[in-house]
Subunit: 222 residues, 2 copies
DNA sequence: CCCCAGACTATACATGCGAGTAGTCTCCTA
DNA sequence: TAGGAGACTACTCGCATGTATAGTCTGGGG
């Protein structure tokens, strides 16, 4: 039952089991199920964490921290392909699923994850623009936010259509995802979709005559 | 409490209240809350529908049907802007939120909605390609699926970040969404993102040497 | 050797859920 | 007007959950 390392303190095992359980079954996973996954009793959660909410908070913090280190590590090895971070191991797969679930459920943790990803992508994109790899945008911030939201959202939808993907098969499903989406993504990024500039120009004229800059229009959200 | 029409049979009121409640609070909305919204007792659900699952099934069917008529109606009036169907009323807003929730939660209803949208977009896109408005793709099916998944997923993320959007403000939030995303969307569709074709050509060469057509690669999913 | 703080378990409790049951009410019909 | 079928409610049951409490075990310091 337990896929959690044996040589950790029960507290750490419980935390890791919770992360895994939340990723596998959602944040409604019961304390009893989590405790069983860690091989301990349910009451121990309260002893160590106080409540389910506090356990969740510690899981959020742990995942955020691990995601950070994972990201910096992978940036050292690979040349950082745009918006494509393969989860290469079971552990990083769990992290990604946990994050996807967080964003999907819309809590403060999900908001934090998403905002971090937008920030990272923003500095990356700005660098790519100045080095001439990427076309500049009239509103870099809005473009990056859109791309991240759609990339994460596309993943959420993809896994929603495969509800019982086991965490162990996650990497292969992820490869499948890239195999299905890489070509159209590259096509769109390289060749666009529209054959002429009419739609864009029309919209630009429209927002010009409403006497607001695109950035103003785009940044009315909270 | 009830925002449901009074001059309907209790059964219809119950069904509409369930659709509204599912959209507002998710599919875990309790039968008691749904019944209260309809202004009747909880036991009446069982009397009319038999179980919560059957009520849900009837809601799914109703929403699917209403979505279909809504779509065909709007296609008569507007010239059918690409991938942009404004929900113009509170009722159609409820429908869209219900559908987004269905896709998000990954049930059979969500799969059905999504597949329908992909099909519709596919015929639309093929028409746009032959009439020269849209650049052809090496795999039309994969491109349309990607675009729909990302459009729906982007909406799911957008509303996940605004968890307590009341159904009555939905249309204004939707306008806000378009105001934030229209410009970068049109930019990408018109101008692409990459400044040169290296990434695409490299990937095309890669999938060519693995002796599979792009369509083969993309269509290994269930 | 003692003994006690902390890790841990077993069990109880309160709550909210979907489902089930029995009974009342109302309106249409014969 | 009698009666019955269906609409509808009040109540109950079993179950799962998070929380709370009381008690057991164990290892290290006096």
């Amino acid at each position: 039952m337990s896929a959690v390392q044996e040589d950790l303190t029960a507290r750490a095992r419980l935390r890791d089991a919770a992360i895994e359980g939340f990723a596998a079954g959602g944040f409604d996973e019961s304390l009893r199920a989590i405790a069983a996954r860690a091989g301990v009793s349910a009451g121990l959660v309260r002893h160590h964490f106080g409540s389910k909410e506090l356990l969740r908070a510690e899981c959020d913090a742990t995942v955020l921290d691990r995601y950070r280190t994972l990201k910096t590590d992978s940036l050292k090895t690979e040349p950082a392909a745009l918006f494509a971070q393969f989860p290469s191991s079971r552990e990083s797969g769990i992290l990604l699923v946990y994050i996807l679930r967080s964003v999907r459920d819309g809590g403060s943790a999900g908001r934090l994850f998403l905002e971090r990803m937008v920030e990272e992508a923003l500095v990356f994109t700005k660098g790519a623009v100045t080095s001439g790899l990427v076309v500049p945008s009239r509103d870099e911030d809005a473009r990056v936010r859109l791309l991240i939201h759609q990339a994460i959202g596309g993943l959420i939808v993809y896994f929603a259509m495969r509800p019982d993907t086991p965490l162990d098969d996650f990497v292969s499903v992820m490869e499948q995802f890239y195999a299905e989406t890489m070509l159209p993504t590259l096509e769109i990024y390289t060749e666009g979709i529209f054959t002429d500039r009419t739609y864009l120009e029309t919209y630009l004229a429209y927002i010009a005559e409403t006497s607001s800059t695109p950035a103003d229009l785009a940044r009315k959200a909270p």
